[in-house]
Amino acid sequence: MIELITDTDERREMTINMGPQHPSTHGVLRLELLLDGEIIKKVKPHIGYLHRCFEKYAEEMDDYAKVIPYTDRMDYVSAMNQEHGYVIALERMLELEVPDKVEHIRVIVAEMQRIASHLLGIGAFGLDLGAFTPFLYLFTEREKILDIFEKVSGARLLYNYMAVGGLMRDVHPEFKADVADFVKTFRPKIKELDDLLSYNKIFVKRTANIGILPVKVALNYGASGPVLRGSGMKWDLRKNDTYSIYNQFEFDIPVGSGEVGTLGDCWDRYNVRVREMEQSLLIIEQALDSMPEEGDVMEAIPRRIRMKEGEIYTRTESPRGELGYFIVGDNSATPYRIKVRAPSFVHLSMLPAISKGSLIADIVAIVGSIDIVLGEVDR
C-alpha cells in the first residue's frame, strides 16, 4: 500500500519500514517503526526473510552427521560454536568419550571463533554509529583468525570441521605457533580499540544510557550471553553449566558495571564483548599449553550413528548466548526432531521492550548492541 506523506491531514505519526534492505539491520531484518518526528513510539520486528527450514532439513537426513554443515549456516559468523554445541549434544546422547586432543582443539577454535564473532559484532556496531575506521581495523584481525581456520579446515566461513566424537581432520603442524602468534599480536589491538572507540567521547555519548535493559527484564525474556551479562548478571554457561573441558581453565566472566552510564545500556553490552575477547585469549593460551601433541583426532568417530530412543537438551555458550540443541532420537539413523534454541531470536524479541521512546539513531545502536545474526533468528 502506498501511503502518501504529502497528505495534508493532521496526523503526526508516521509508519516507516526499516529494512529488510537497510544498511544497519544486520541482514534481512524488517523493523516496522511508528514514529512521532524522530521519536519511536512503537517498534515491531518482522522476521522470516532468511528462513531455511533447518528443522525439516534435519528430519529428512539419513545421518546425524549430515546435519553438521547445516548448523554452520545458522549463525554464520560463529560456525565453530554452532558445530561445537551440536556435536556435544550428540556425544552426550551416545555417551562417547572424546580424546583429550580433540577437546583442546575444539576449545581453541571455539574461542577463536568467539573472538572473530565479537570483532564482527563490535565493528558493525561502530559502523552503525558512523565510525568506519575501527570496523576495518577489526576486520584485519578477524582476517588473521579466518586464515588460521582456513589452514585448519579448508574453509573460511562455514567450516564443517567438528565431527561427532572427533574432528574432520587433524590441525596443521604449525597450528600452535600460528595461534600463539595471533594471541601475541592481538592483545595490544584491544588496547588500541579502547583508545579509538570504547572510550571515544562521541561513542560513549551515543551508547551510554541508551537501550537500558534491567536485569529483571533480561531474565524474564530469557536473555543470555553478553546481553544478560551486560545487565550485570554473572552467568556464563562455560562456568555455570560447564561443558567440554572448560572447567580446566581459569578465566573471568566480565559483566556490565554501568561504568559510563546506567547498568545494562548499550555501552555495557559492547564493553562485555571487548572484555570477553581478553578472557578468550587467556583460555586459548592455557589450552595451547596443555594441548597434547600426539593423538588421533578421528579415532572416536563412530562409523554410523544409530541413536537410541530418547531425548536430550544441551546448551553451550555461543558468542551470542545460550545456544541449545534439543534432539529427539527414535532408534534410527535419522533424527526424529532437532530443535534449536537460538539466542539471537530471544534477544530480538526484547527489542520492543527496550527501544520504546528512543530516537531513530538509538534503535540503530540498540540493534547493533544486541548483536543479532538473522541466519540464527530465522534458522
Binding site: T6, E38, L127, L129, G130, A131, F132, K205, I360, A361
Partner: protein, 342 residues
C-alpha cells in the same frame, strides 16, 4: 559597430571570468573525491583505488563520473517531478554562486563587491532550501527525515558561523574579502609570523575553532553528517537520487566544503598571502598559497571524517545552541574589547 565589438568582448570577458571558479571546482572535485578515498584508505590500512588510470588509480573519479552520466535517470512515481529534477542543480548553483566573492589571488576575484561576506553567507543559505526541496520532492520518508534534520542543522549552525565571521569583521572593519585579505599582508607579528588574523589576537584563535566546528556541520561532514547518515537514514535526502543528479549533489557537497574552507583561509589564514612575506608572492603564487590553505582545511575535514563516530540529532543541537552559540557571542565581545584596548 565598435560598440557591439566592445560589448561582445565584454560579454566574453565576463563569461571567462565566471568560468574560472567553475573550472577550479570541477578539477578540485575530481581530485578531492579521489583524495578522499585515498586518505580513507591510508587511515584504514588499505590502498584505496589502485587500478583505473595506472598510477594509484588517479582516474577513478573520472571513471565514476562517466558511469554516473550513463545511468538511467530514475524519478519516483509519486515524486514532485519539477522540484525533484531542479533541487540538485539549485544546490550546486548556490555553492557556485558563492564563489563569486572568493578572492582566489591578488589578481582575480569574481566580483569585488564590498558586502562580500554578507553575500556569501546569504547565498549559501540556499543550500538548506535545496536540500529540503530534494527531500520533500522525493516523497520518501527517509528523505523527508534527512531533509528535516538538515534544515534544523544548517539553520542552527549558521548562527555560530556568522558570529565567528563577525569577530573577524570586527577586527578587519570590512565586509570585502579582498580588503580582508590585503589587511593580512606582511610579516610583523613577533618579527617573523605573518600578519594573519589567527596570530593577531588570541580570541580569534578561539573563533577559528568554533568556526571550523560550525563549517563541519554546515557542510555535513562527520561527526555531523546526520542528514545523510547512511546507517540510520539509508542516504537521507539523496535516497531516491541516482545517476547525474546524485553526482550533482556530490559535486555541490564537495564544492561547499571547498567554499567554506576557502572562507576560513581568507578570514583566518591570510588568504592568498604568502607565509614568507614578499618571498614567493604574486598573483600566481597567491593562487597556489590560497588553494594550499583551503585544501589543507579540506584535508583536516576528511581526516576527521574517517576517525570519529557520528553525533545524534539532539546532541548535535545541544552542542550548537548551548555551547557554540554562547561561546561565539562571548568571544565576539572579548574580541571587540581587545580591539578597543590595543
Amino acid at each position: 559597430m565598435i560598440n557591439t565589438i566592445a560589448t561582445t568582448a565584454n560579454a566574453l570577458t565576463i563569461l571567462v571570468y565566471a568560468a574560472i571558479p567553475l573550472t577550479i571546482i570541477l578539477v578540485y572535485a575530481l581530485v578531492a573525491i579521489w583524495a578522499e578515498r585515498k586518505i580513507a584508505g591510508f587511515i584504514q590500512d588499505r590502498l584505496g583505488p589502485m587500478r583505473v588510470g595506472g598510477w594509484h588509480g588517479w582516474a577513478q573519479s573520472i571513471a565514476d563520473l562517466l558511469k554516473l552520466i550513463q545511468k538511467e535517470d530514475i524519478i519516483p512515481t509519486n515524486a514532485s517531478r519539477f522540484l525533484f529534477k531542479f533541487a540538485p542543480f539549485m544546490m550546486f548553483a548556490a555553492s557556485y554562486a558563492a564563489f563569486a566573492v572568493i578572492p582566489f589571488s591578488s589578481g582575480y576575484i569574481g566580483s569585488n563587491i564590498n558586502i562580500g561576506v554578507f553575500y556569501l553567507l546569504a547565498v549559501t543559505s540556499l543550500l538548506t532550501l535545496s536540500i529540503i526541496m530534494a527531500a520533500w520532492a522525493s516523497n520518501n520518508k527517509w528523505s523527508l527525515l534527512g531533509g528535516m534534520r538538515s534544515a534544523a542543522q544548517m539553520v542552527s549552525y549558521e548562527v555560530p558561523t556568522i558570529a565567528t565571521v563577525l569577530t573577524v569583521i570586527v577586527v578587519s572593519g570590512s565586509l570585502n574579502l579582498m580588503t580582508v585579505t590585503e589587511m593580512q599582508s606582511g610579516n610583523d607579528i613577533l618579527g617573523f609570523l605573518p600578519n594573519w588574523f589567527i596570530f593577531q589576537n588570541p580570541f580569534l584563535l578561539v573563533a577559528f575553532v568554533i568556526f571550523f566546528i560550525s563549517i563541519l556541520a554546515e557542510s555535513h561532514r562527520v561527526p555531523f553528517d546526520l542528514p545523510e547518515s547512511e546507517s540510520e537514514l539509508v542516504a537521507g535526502y539523496q535516497t531516491e537520487y541516482s545517476g547525474i543528479r546524485w553526482a550533482m549533489f556530490m559535486l555541490a557537497e564537495y564544492a561547499d566544503m571547498l567554499l567554506l574552507s576557502l572562507l576560513g583561509a581568507t578570514l583566518f589564514f591570510g588568504g592568498w598571502n604568502s607565509p614568507f612575506g614578499e618571498f614567493m608572492s604574486g598573483p600566481l603564487w597567491g593562487f597556489f598559497w590560497y588553494m594550499l590553505k583551503g585544501l589543507l582545511l579540506v584535508f583536516v575535514m576528511m581526516w576527521i571524517r574517517w576517525t570519529l563516530p557520528r553525533y545524534r540529532v539532539d546532541q548535535l543541537m545541544h552542542i550548537c545552541w548551548s555551547i557554540l552559540i554562547p561561546l561565539s557571542f562571548i568571544n565576539l565581545v572579548l574580541v571587540a574589547l581587545w580591539e578597543l584596548i590595543f
